[in-house]
């Protein structure tokens, strides 16, 4: 028996909100995929990429549930419900597989595998067993995964990112409640109105979660600011033009210390040596020195070097932003020799602004 046997206003509202959710899920999926494709050095474990996959699975899940709950009954309905389960568990498996790698401990891809098992069970288990399995086993497991993610993103995020992290959790809570109100148990207990309220919750939840993700970097990159130790702008002749450090001691005056000067010369020396060793004209993008990474950005006569404990996409993105802004300000000023280092005083302000260092 379908949830809505007869045409009524409650049925129409429920159906419309299901379609609204599908539309928004697809819209955000396209948006995130486009964002991801535009990102240089894109990685598969990017949150946006994983999220767009999950949204597509939600869209499929909703479409199949529309068929099962509005237009079919009996065996045909069970067939569409199965497809709906397959879509959502496949989405969860892919999302977990991608995002588990960002967790600080090795989960051995437990959640991704559970998702795959869920997909397989959805194919052949009788519906009567499947619906209990989904409710009493799969749902708690993914609540645990979500709780872990929630804890990590709240712990790691700072400032405005934390607000978006909370929003994301709120959106998840709302959607989860929405799904809960749509299941057969709830409809049997409270009537079809429960389903209609569920669809409204789902639409609101998907929009809130997607809006939050729009403003959040990947899980593993939330605390990117804490990973940066030093940022140098070094002229191709080895002169340090600017140096910003995130460690406690700040320079008293604007002149460069001996160690800073040495660092500048050393980095340029390494660059030249690498060119010599590799006999290539290409530029260095990153140097991995165990627990410290040196990430490079290049302009005609200067290089930006970010000393960080991790090589993060968001830092690379910030380096690119810096290079763009710096080129606008110093085009025509920066030449093959440095006559007056004082001209570069504003660079420190620019670095602090772009990398959010106060």
């Amino acid at each position: 028996m379908a949830v809505f046997e007869e045409y009524s206003l409650i049925r129409d509202i429920a159906l419309s909100f299901m379609v609204v959710t599908i539309f928004f899920a697809l819209q955000f999926a396209i948006y995130f995929l486009r964002e991801w494709l535009r990102t240089p050095n894109r990685k598969f474990n990017d949150l946006r990429f994983a999220w767009s996959f999950f949204l597509v699975s939600v869209a499929f899940n909703m479409s199949f549930f529309i068929m099962s709950d509005f237009y079919t009954s009996g065996e045909e309905r069970v067939f569409w419900i199965r497809l709906g389960y397959i879509a959502i568990t496949a989405g969860l498996a892919i999302f977990s597989n991608i995002q588990e790698r960002a967790l600080p401990w090795n989960t051995h891809n437990f959640f991704g595998i559970i998702g795959l098992i869920g997909v397989m069970f959805s194919f052949f288990l009788p519906h009567e067993i499947l619906k209990y399995l989904a409710f009493f086993i799969l749902t708690p497991i993914y609540i645990v995964l979500f709780a872990i993610f929630a804890r990590i993103i709240i712990k790691r995020s700072v400032g405005i990112l934390r607000v978006f992290a909370f929003l994301f959790i709120l959106g998840f809570g709302i959607s989860f409640l929405g799904y809960g109100l749509e299941i057969d148990f709830a409809v049997e207990a409270f009537g079809p109105i429960s389903y209609t309220i569920g669809t409204i919750h789902l639409a609101v939840g998907v929009v809130i979660m997607s809006f939050s993700i729009m403003n959040l970097p990947s899980f593993g990159e939330l605390d990117w600011q804490r990973k940066i130790q030093d940022i140098y702008l070094i002229h191709s002749n080895g002169t340090v033009l600017a140096h910003v450090t995130t460690t406690a001691h700040e320079r008293k005056d604007s002149s460069m210390s001996e160690s800073e000067k040495r660092a500048g010369g050393a980095i340029i020396g390494i660059k030249a040596l690498l060119k010599e060793v590799t006999s290539r004209e290409g530029t260095v993008e990153a140097i991995d020195h165990g627990d410290v990474k040196l990430l490079f950005g290049h302009t005609d006569y200067a290089d930006l070097i970010v000393v960080s404990s991790e090589d993060l996409m968001i830092i690379r993105h910030k380096i690119e932003n810096f290079i763009k802004e710096f080129t606008i300000l110093y085009k025509g000023i920066l030449k093959d020799s440095v006559e007056d280092v004082r001209i570069f005083r504003p660079v420190e302000g620019l670095i602090k602004r772009i990398f959010g260092i106060s």
């Binding site: 159906l15 419309s16 300000l329 006559e339 007056d340 302000g349």
Partner: protein, 363 residues
């Protein structure tokens, strides 16, 4: 009649798309109103603001059409049809009223006035003539307004903005076709599926037009950078720190004339201050075809010589100072070393040139 008491997937699909239109429009209304309230030089004539009002009217229009086409019949249906068309006309009237002020043509607000009159008259049109008349009333005059409006933006825009104009026109045509598909006449002749196509067309139109508007400049912002002749940054002592001739976009060496200009501008500022006996600083001087716009901060003065005293230029002056102090911290002491201010000059070039801003927006 339409889908009243009809039970079919086509009916459900059409209804769902109608609801999606309302939510997509709402999404853009929230985005644009939010952007507008955040904009430091917001004006009522801002394109995004008037577009949000228009989208609100589309939402009301579609809502009334849902009631008329899916849940009512006879006289009651007619009432909701009239309400729907009236809502759309009010939205068009407000949009026209706001945008007509910004257009260079002397339209004497005829479109705004016409919209309001028609929004009332639509309640008195006999039901037999309603369908054809409402499309004549809404379609013909407002298509003309859109042509004028698009023509003006087209003339004023260059490069990437033009693409937005193309897609806006495309969206507009798709929307017109969509609304024609929703008419009783076509549904009676061709069947219910025409209505479904109509809803998809209207949805695509709202989406395409709203996305295009996102990248279009406001009338208030059009060509502002072309109205700037010169930019001076002067120290309070009268020493010019940089000068940009925006027509040539070149830096000339400090010439005697510039030192004189710098000194003169500072003197004007000081003399005026002593005459008006005000602790405040001079904001602008209107010298017929040239306006001098001043910005003061710490010991430096930014002076813009422009053809018009535009609000956006005052905002840009503030933006310059904000960025300047973010980069420099304080005003450097070595004001006689011109190279110290070269980055500040590049910053001014960036802030006061439209091309640079466009690039920034694209990012």
């Amino acid at each position: 009649m339409y889908f009243y008491n009809v039970e079919s997937p086509i009916r459900d699909f059409s209804l769902s798309i109608m609801v999606v239109i309302i939510f997509v429009a709402l999404q853009f209304v929230i985005t644009y109103i939010y952007q507008w309230t955040k904009s430091p030089y917001r004006k009522i004539s801002d394109l995004r603001f008037s577009w949000s009002i228009f989208l609100l009217s589309i939402m009301a229009n579609i809502f009334f059409y849902i009631i008329s086409d899916f849940y009512t019949i006879g006289e009651e249906r007619m009432l909701f049809l009239r309400l729907g068309s009236s809502a759309l006309l009010i939205g068009l009237a407000i949009f026209a009223n706001i945008q007509e002020r910004a257009l260079p043509y002397r339209t004497r607000n005829i479109f705004g006035f016409l919209g309001i009159v028609m929004a009332i008259l639509i309640f008195f049109i006999p039901p037999t003539l309603f369908s054809i008349l409402q499309y004549l009333i809404i379609g013909v005059p407002y298509s003309l307004l859109f042509i004028l409006f698009i023509g003006y933006i087209w003339k004023q825009t260059i490069g990437p903005f033009r693409k937005k104009v193309y897609s806006f026109v495309f969206g507009f045509i798709v929307g017109l076709i969509g609304y024609v598909f929703l008419t009783d006449y076509l549904v009676n002749v061709l069947g219910h599926f025409v209505y479904t196509f109509g809803t998809i067309f209207v949805l695509s139109s709202v989406f395409i037009m709203s996305v295009s508007i996102m990248g279009m400049p406001s009338f208030a912002e059009l060509n502002w950078s072309q109205k700037i002749n010169d930019i001076y940054l002067i120290h309070k002592s009268g020493m010019p720190l940089f000068h940009i001739n925006m027509k040539r976009k070149e830096e000339t060496d400090v010439k005697d004339k510039e030192v004189l200009t710098g000194g003169a501008l500072t003197v004007i500022n000081m003399v005026l201050q002593s005459i008006v006996k005000s602790g405040k600083e001079i904001k602008s001087i209107d010298q017929e075809n040239v306006k001098l716009l001043f910005g003061h901060s710490s010991s430096i003065i930014l002076v813009i010589l422009a053809e018009e005293d535009l609000e956006i230029l005052h905002y840009k002056i503030k933006q310059f100072f904000k960025d300047f102090f973010e980069l420099y911290g304080t005003v450097p002491e070595d004001i006689y070393n011109r190279s110290t201010f070269l980055p500040a000059r590049a910053l001014a070039m960036k802030i006061f040139s439209e091309e640079a801003q466009k690039l920034e927006e694209k990012r």
